[in-house]
């Protein structure tokens, strides 16, 4: 079975908030210096889903990422987790791509990469939270998509997915090839092993350009974006403190309860 996982590097969600800067005029996020990008956690779980399938049966897992200078680091990380091959898609022409053009680029690369049975993506990238790429990749390739998986089994030409719904999960089956997007309920992604890291360090990672994957350049990059950022602002955090007092400890507690009630907190 050939499994392809699409991964994306994002700003580290754990980085200190003061480092997060935007250019409101250009409506762009300014990349902070010195803080390496990380793989979007949902994508890491998509890799985990692929590796669980590979644990149980003969399978080859290929990771694909579209990105800049540091994209190789993301690929190295998943190779160290146990992924077999990694491919970086990098081209000036891709800059400013939205979900739609990103999905187009990915689907071109997937077709070039060879035969595929299952394509896994994270449910959404943990930076912009758009959650569209997986579905559009399926559309581009003309295959079914199942979103929000918490468990993925693929055997004998079908994929069986436990799909998260608000009050539990439903089981969905689709014929392969298909796209499945993976949710956090799948569980923790595995850590790389020592041997995995060394093996990954040994692998060469091909970098494909727009031309390499036969992209129609009018469909990629900022110019081809179908979505538009109307405004970009930083949330304002306001902290207010108030000390509730009373004659005795018990009285202070009563006053606190009254205050909370007044503000409809309890």
């Amino acid at each position: 079975m050939n499994i392809i996982v699409c991964i994306k590097q994002i700003l580290d969600p754990e980085m200190p908030p003061v480092k997060f800067k935007i250019d409101a005029q250009a409506k762009k996020v300014i990349a902070p210096e010195g803080i390496p990008l990380v793989i979007s956690p949902f994508d890491e779980q998509a890799v985990e889903a692929a590796l669980r399938i590979k644990d149980a049966q003969e399978a080859k897992v290929t990771a694909i990422t579209m990105g800049g200078q540091s994209a190789k680091d993301a690929v190295k990380h998943v190779l160290a987790m146990g992924v077999d091959e990694g491919i970086v898609l990098s081209d000036e022409a891709f800059n400013g791509s939205d979900s739609f053009s990103t999905a187009y680029v990915l689907s071109q690369a997937i077709q070039k990469a060879g035969e595929y049975d299952l394509i896994l993506c994270g449910r959404q990238a943990a930076d912009w939270d758009a959650g569209q790429v997986g579905s559009i990749v399926a559309e581009e390739l003309g295959i079914p998509v199942v979103t929000l998986a918490r468990k993925v089994d693929a055997t004998g030409g079908t994929v069986r997915v436990e799909r998260v719904i608000p009050d539990g999960h439903e089981v969905v089956e689709a014929p392969l090839p298909a796209v499945v997007t993976v949710s956090s309920e799948l569980g923790q992604a595995r850590l790389p092993t020592g041997r995995g890291i060394v093996m990954a360090a040994r692998k060469s990672i091909p970098v494909w350009s727009a031309q390499d994957i036969g992209c129609d350049v009018s469909r990629v990059g900022a110019g081809a974006a179908r979505s538009e950022v109307v405004a970009l602002t930083l949330p304002i955090h306001e902290r207010k403190g108030e000390i509730v007092s009373g004659e005795t400890g018990a009285q202070a507690a009563v006053n606190l309860a009254l205050k909370l009630r007044e503000n409809r907190i309890i």
């Binding site: 210096e33 010195g34 390496p36 680091d73 990380h77 160290a80 790389p192 092993t193 020592g194 041997r195 995995g196 890291i197 060394v198 093996m199 990954a200 360090a201 040994r202």
Partner: protein, 427 residues
């Protein structure tokens, strides 16, 4: 995959990368393991690489080395709490340069890339946990739960070297032979830097401070110019710091508030903060440098020269790394990685500046224990300068009279003479 390598290098700092680069270029199969997410991720240094040490590995240096600025101006600056006296050696305009400033996260990454280009394998995000032994001989390492074997292991894992410690080559660090450094990288526009420090577009300045920067604690301060930032920090002896009940962060804060320093960093924003230890014991602290199957290089072997002014560690790390590689290449020819065969390493170091400089300055650490260096003398210099330059309408005194006046209650003439003689013999 075969897990046997010709050599395993622990640590992708300057020492480890120099070793690996040289070995890989000679066609050996080399594995470098680095615990940081990427080489340089958590490393810090003041910032100056002194001398031509990189030239032998990278002819035409700096070439594409990501250096910040080439040093054209060296300043030694004595601080009292409100003024300063400097000795300023300026060759910035002459085109002559000595040393480069670097930022580690960029520099280490570049070095590691060179290792990979030469065919070495750099496994980042992997910590070496232990040595593998076969009898008395080191035959590899364990990392991430797996075993990796090699003919030779090079411990280039920095000041806290677990590898050298596990090999029983060194004792743990003690507070009197290790310094703690804290540093901020302060972002400033390129033009502001060049204007403030009187630099041309490619030249840089290195300023070393003594006195108020450490509030009298055994240590010093530094300020180096990068392309678009300044590296500002203090380095203090751990023992003196503990006895002073001060924290190095607080020292850095008050250093930044000093009127002389404040003007240099005005309008800048702190973009990075880091803290690190650095060996400071001189030759006495250098452990046994090798055993069967193992060599120790760089900070792991305490190969750092501290003379109270600058710290030279990167050049020592690179030079010892290269010597370690040469040793392994010779051992490989003989196919003998025993202690006896690896003893070439010590000879190579003894013939180079590495052990020679440490020998020349073997008394420096003892000399630097002198408390007067960090308070009395910087204050005296500032006071004296104040008196010399002040015109206040009263009759003037001769320099010597002024000096005697300011020394009163601070230091006796005999102490001054003794310190002078001791400086002569140790520095």
């Amino acid at each position: 995959m075969s897990d046997k390598f010709d050599a395993i290098v622990v640590g992708a700092g300057p020492a480890g990368c120099a070793t690996a680069c040289k070995l890989a270029r000679a066609g050996l199969e080399v594995l470098v393991v680095e615990r940081g997410k990427f080489p340089g991720a958590k490393n810090m240094t003041g910032g100056v690489i002194y001398g031509p040490v990189l030239d032998s590995l990278f002819p035409g240096a700096p070439g594409d080395i990501p250096v910040e600025r080439a040093i054209g101006r060296h300043v030694i600056c004595l601080l009292s709490d409100r003024s300063s006296v400097s000795l300023d050696f300026n060759m910035a305009g002459s085109g002559d340069r000595n040393g480069y400033t670097v930022l580690r996260s960029r520099f280490d990454r570049w070095l590691a890339n060179k290792v990979e280009e030469a065919g070495g394998i750099v496994a980042a995000g992997l910590r070496a946990d232990d040595l593998l032994w076969q009898g008395q001989r080191v035959v590899g390492i364990t990392a991430g739960g797996d075993e990796f074997r090699a003919d030779a292991v090079i411990a280039a894992d920095g000041v806290n070297s677990t590898m050298a410690t596990k090999a029983g080559l060194r004792v743990n660090l003690s507070p009197e032979n290790v310094n703690q450094g804290v540093k901020e990288v302060i972002g400033l526009p390129r033009e502001a830097i060049e204007e403030r420090f009187g630099l041309t577009s490619d030249s840089g300045a290195a300023i070393h401070f003594l006195g108020f920067c450490t509030r009298g604690v055994h240590g010093g301060g530094f300020l180096y110019t990068n392309k678009e930032s300044l590296s500002l920090g203090v380095v203090v002896q751990l023992k003196a710091l503990m006895e002073s009940n001060l924290k190095s962060v607080d020292l850095l804060e008050s250093f930044k508030e000093h009127p002389t320093v404040r003007e240099y960093i005005r309008g800048g924003t702190t973009v990075e903060y880091s803290a690190h230890l650095v060996p400071a014991g001189g030759l006495r602290m250098v452990p046994r440098l090798f055993t069967d199957g193992l060599l120790v290089a760089g900070d792991a072997a305490a190969l750092v020269l501290a003379t109270g002014r600058a710290l030279e560690g990167i050049n020592f790390a690179v030079a010892s790394g290269i010597a370690a590689a040469e040793t392994v290449l010779k051992a490989k020819e003989r196919n003998d990685f025993s202690k006896e065969s690896l003893s070439v390493y010590e000879k190579l170091l003894a013939d180079s500046f590495v052990l020679q400089d440490l020998k020349t300055f073997r008394e420096a650490p003892r000399f630097l224990e002198n408390q007067r260096l960090y308070q009395t003398y910087p204050e005296l210099a500032c006071k004296l300068a104040e008196e010399v330059f002040r015109v206040d309408g009263k009759p003037k005194k001769k320099l010597w009279q002024l000096a005697r006046q300011e020394m009163k209650g601070r230091v006796s003439i005999w102490q001054l003479l003794r310190d002078g003689l001791s400086a002569r013999s140790s520095l």
